[in-house]
Every structure is written in C-alpha cells, then in structure tokens.
C-alpha cells in the first residue's frame, strides 16, 4: 500500500486533538502547510513543540489549536516579537496556554534523546540559570566517573512529528541538505511521522547517494508531495525565505482582528497548499527563486 497521500488526509489520519505535535525545522524547512491544515481542521488542545515556535506556531496559537507550547526561543526570527504567542501567555487570548521552556541545547537534546530511545540526555548547561527553577524537567546529576555536576533533560517523544525535506522516494527515504536542524531527530522520536517533500523522486535517485538520506522509509507513515510547503520559510536550493511576509506578520500579529482576517483569507478560505501558492502569485514566487548552484558528484564505486 502506498504511503503517498495529501496533507489533508495525512493530518486527518495522524493528528488527534490533545496530541503532542512536533513540527521540525530550524528556520529552514518549516512545514507551514501542515500547520495551516491543522488550523483548517480545527485541531484543539495540542501540545506544540519546536525550539523556535516561529510564525507557524504563532498562527496555530492564534487559531486556538494549542493548550501548551514547549520551546526554547519564541521570537519572530530576525524581526522581533512573536505577538500571538505573547498575547496568549500575557493575556490568555484566545485561550490561556501553558509553557514549558528550555535553552536551545536542552530542547534539541530532549528530541535527540527521544530519537535514540534514551530516557534522558546529559549536557553541560543550565547550571547557572534560573530556568531550572521554573522548569522541573531540567535536573542535575553527579557523573559516576568524574563526580562533577551535570544537567540532564528528559526525552521528548511526540505523538506526531511533521518534517519537510527536499526530496524522497514514494516510500519516504528522505534526503535533506542545507540546515538539517532537528528534522532527523523529530522523525526518529515520534510515534507517527508525516513527511512532506518538495519532490518525490525515483528510488534510484536516492540510492545513488545513500549518505545523503537522513530519514529511512520504514519510520515514515505518510508521504506528501507538497511543493512550497515551507513558505514563508524556505527550502535550500528551491526557494528563499519570504522575508517580506515575516515583516508583514509583525504588523498583522499586532491586532487580533488582522490575524483573524489573515487566517480567513490565507488558511480557512484556501483548500490546500496548491491554492495557497496560486494565491501568492507568479511574481512573488519567482522573486524567491535562487540561482542554481550545484554540488559535484562523488564516486561510490560499483563493486563486483
């Protein structure tokens, strides 16, 4: 049975209200398409996890999907404040959300531990900070070899992880280049994995460069061919970050009415990502295309 499906179907099948959902991507390959689909399907009471909530979680929080956010840096990257997140934390609008907060290293160590099926990861941070005072999940142990004090954080095992990659085959063997971020850990740590890709390619393309495959097929539950899934974030070699939108969101997100209007126009009234890209228009899309810049092939050798 083929794993290839639509984003609508994948979200419907794998994401239940109340789930712990991890959308991977450090600035790069952020799956806005999946975020919008969860908003459209009015998913509720989600525990949303990523190091940087970014605009994707800001929008989901504004749409009332979240009951809790697990994160390490909640800002609009390169722009400023994450206003819907702040409104929820400071004023409970549209609903109160719980927060669970870490340093970047601690947050990625948690998802790493989840991926490796370790109950915890040790790491050399958190010792001189108030963060452990407000987050009981940040603990300290004594190294049994050196006697030194070291921080530990527990594994994070999402119910669903949503990752995006440049390409995969139909079974979900995914190749990623550029900033890897937390895509691989997110996939390995989760119960269910939704993978979307810019392009589905022949298995043969993947097998010609196995060292580039970060996610193997048998841990992937659904594969969605979803070009421009990451907009306004970006995909290395495919399109640039739409920085104008990040700036625009800074204005939109100041006013709940403007946010509502944005969600109505760009999420609820839009059927899927294809329609969203159509709505962006050719001019905006073309402006975001980089020039080609290819790697050189390497020789794996054929051995008889």
């Amino acid at each position: 049975m083929s794993k290839v499906t639509t984003m609508e179907e994948a979200i419907k099948r794998h994401v239940r209200d109340g789930d712990t959902v991890y959308i991977a991507g450090f600035t790069h390959l952020i799956n806005f398409s999946a975020g919008h689909e969860m908003i459209r399907q009015r998913k509720r009471n989600l525990v949303l996890c990523r190091p940087t909530p970014d605009l994707v979680f800001d929008q989901m929080i504004a749409a009332g999907c979240a009951r809790k956010v697990v994160f390490s840096w909640a800002g609009n990257p390169g722009v400023g404040s994450l206003r819907c997140f702040r409104r929820a934390v400071e004023h409970g609008i549209p609903n109160r959300i719980e927060i669970e907060e870490y340093t970047h290293f601690s947050m990625v160590a948690r998802i790493y531990a989840g991926a490796l099926n370790l109950p915890f990861m040790p790491l050399r941070t958190n010792i001189c900070s108030d963060l452990p005072k407000v987050n009981r999940n940040i603990k300290f142990i004594t190294c049994p070899f050196t006697g030194e004090k070291i921080s530990v954080v527990p594994a994070l095992k999402p119910d669903v992880s949503i990752v995006h990659a440049q390409r995969s085959d139909e079974n979900g063997n995914a190749q990623i280049w550029g900033i890897i971020g937390d895509q691989r850990e997110a996939a390995f740590a989760a119960e269910k994995v939704i993978l979307s890709v810019e392009e589905i390619v022949e298995e043969n393309v993947i097998r010609r460069d196995p060292n580039r495959t970060l996610i193997p097929d048998f841990i992937v539950d659904s594969v969605v061919e979803e070009p421009w899934a990451a907009h306004p974030s970006y995909v290395q070699g495919y399109y640039d970050r739409d920085n104008d939108f990040y700036l625009e969101w800074d204005k939109i997100s100041r006013e709940p009415e403007l946010v509502e209007k944005y969600l109505e126009e760009w999420v609820y009234s839009v059927e899927n990502r294809k329609e969203y890209v159509e709505k962006l228009g050719a001019g905006r899309v073309l402006k975001l295309l980089p020039k080609r810049f290819y790697s050189l092939p390497v020789d794996y050798g054929f051995y008889r």
């Binding site: 790069h28 840096w73 390169g78 340093t103 601690s106 900033i179 290395q236």
Partner: protein, 247 residues
C-alpha cells in the same frame, strides 16, 4: 570620516576578534562585526552559526541565523544538536556573541521575562542558545545599546550567567566577558570584582555613561578613549550593510 556611535560599537566588537578564532555569530550587529574582522585583520576567523553552519561566507547580509546564504559556499553543515554538542560543548567556540533585555554589573543576562515569570509584564523570547553559549564559549562579547533600562542593577530573571557564575564552570570565564555598548566598552576588573568602564568612545563623557547605567558603574584607573574607526574599517563596514538595515 564621520561615523555614528553604533558604527564604532561594531568596529570595537570586531577588534576583539583574533585571527584564527572560531566565533558563534548572531544575526545583525555580531554578524557585521565578524564579517568586518574577517575583512580587516582576521581573515581566518571561522564563523559558526547555531543553525549548524561552519565556516560561512555569506554572499549577502543574512537576515536570520538560518538564512540560506550562510549555507551555500560554507565549509560544513551539521544538525542543531551537533553544533551545540560537537562544537559548543566541546569548547571549540572561542567567542560567543550575546545581547539582552537586561544586563547587570556581572554580565548576567535576562532575555526571558520582564516582571515575574508566572505573570509576566513582558514576555521576552527566552534563552534560545544564549544560556548555553554563556556556559560554554571561552569568551563572551555582549553588544548592547547603552541604556539605563538595559544596564540594570538587578535583572528580573537570570537567563544566562555572567563572569562570577562562569567561574564555577569548566570554561573558567573570569575576565571572559566584555560588554560593548553604544557609548563604550566594559570589562571585568579583578580588583572591583565586577564590570568596569575600560574604554569610552570619542565625544562621550563619563557622566553621560553613568547617567545611562542602572548601577554605580566603576571606572577603570586606566580608562582609555576608544580609537576612532579607520577609513578602511568604516568603508568596509558600510559596504557590508549597504541598505543600512542594522547601522
């Protein structure tokens, strides 16, 4: 050549970087400082971004620490967990750049919350990598506008440790923090046990600095005037940010 205090701030930060060092770059002013140092006196500076990019040579001014332009033509890319563990945790980062909403006389930084944590007046973005960098980079450079509301007597929340806290750690941070402001440079002074004014920008008075500092700032016995930017420094800096986004 005329210059702004912000320009001198970036130039002063650049001068702190030595050739051959590795530096964990932030977006904005730290990025400008690193690129400036690389072009002037530190061609072998290795720029590392917490997004996992090593040895970046950005073709344009990066708009975030994950901008695609820092990947293309870089030396190496790794995952986020790897950059924090293989590089930062193993003390392979010589210099880390930080900023903050509140900074105290020991270089302790708050980027988490103004007011109480449970009921915040202003919810700030949080640590990100800052707490990790403050624990693990060999030296820390803090770049900040010199304002009374930023340079405070008491921070509301300790996000990232300063000089005294760092002493307890493996990195031995004593003296390892400099604060480069829009008016001068503060560094750790053993005798006073805190950050003191070490250098002052041309045209700035000690009174102006004291007025804009939230604690009774001590002044170094060897207070210097920061040398003005050279023509080369200034023209190079301006070419790095032609649209004047940051300066």
């Amino acid at each position: 050549m005329k210059y702004s205090r912000n320009e001198l701030m970036v130039v002063a930060a650049a001068r702190e970087l030595k050739n051959g060092e590795t530096v964990l770059v932030g977006v904005g002013l730290p990025n400008l400082a690193c690129n400036l140092a690389k072009r002037i006196h530190a061609p072998n500076l290795t720029m590392i971004y917490e997004s996992g990019v090593i040895g970046a040579e950005p073709s344009r001014l990066p708009l975030s620490i994950g901008d695609p332009c820092i990947v293309t033509n870089s030396k190496s890319v790794c995952s986020m967990f790897e950059v924090f563990s293989y590089y930062l945790q193993s003390h392979r980062v010589d210099v880390g750049f930080l900023g903050g909403a509140q900074i105290d006389k020991y270089g302790n930084i708050n980027t988490t919350v103004i007011g109480s944590y449970a009921a915040p007046k202003i919810r700030l973005p949080g640590s990100g990598g800052a707490c990790d960098i403050a624990h693990l980079a060999k030296r820390i450079i803090i770049i900040t506008p010199h304002q009374k509301r930023r340079l405070v007597d008491k921070i509301d929340f300790l996000t990232s440790p300063g000089v005294l806290e760092r002493e307890k750690l493996e990195v031995k941070g004593k003296g390892g923090i400099k604060v480069i402001t829009s008016l001068g440079v503060l560094s750790f002074n053993e005798k006073h046990g805190e950050l003191v004014l070490e250098s002052i920008y041309p045209g700035v008075t000690v009174e102006e600095i004291k007025e804009n500092t939230g604690w009774n700032l001590k002044i170094s016995e060897l207070l210097k005037v920061t040398p003005e930017p050279t023509t080369l420094e200034l023209s190079t800096l301006r070419s790095l940010d032609p649209s004047k986004i940051y300066i």
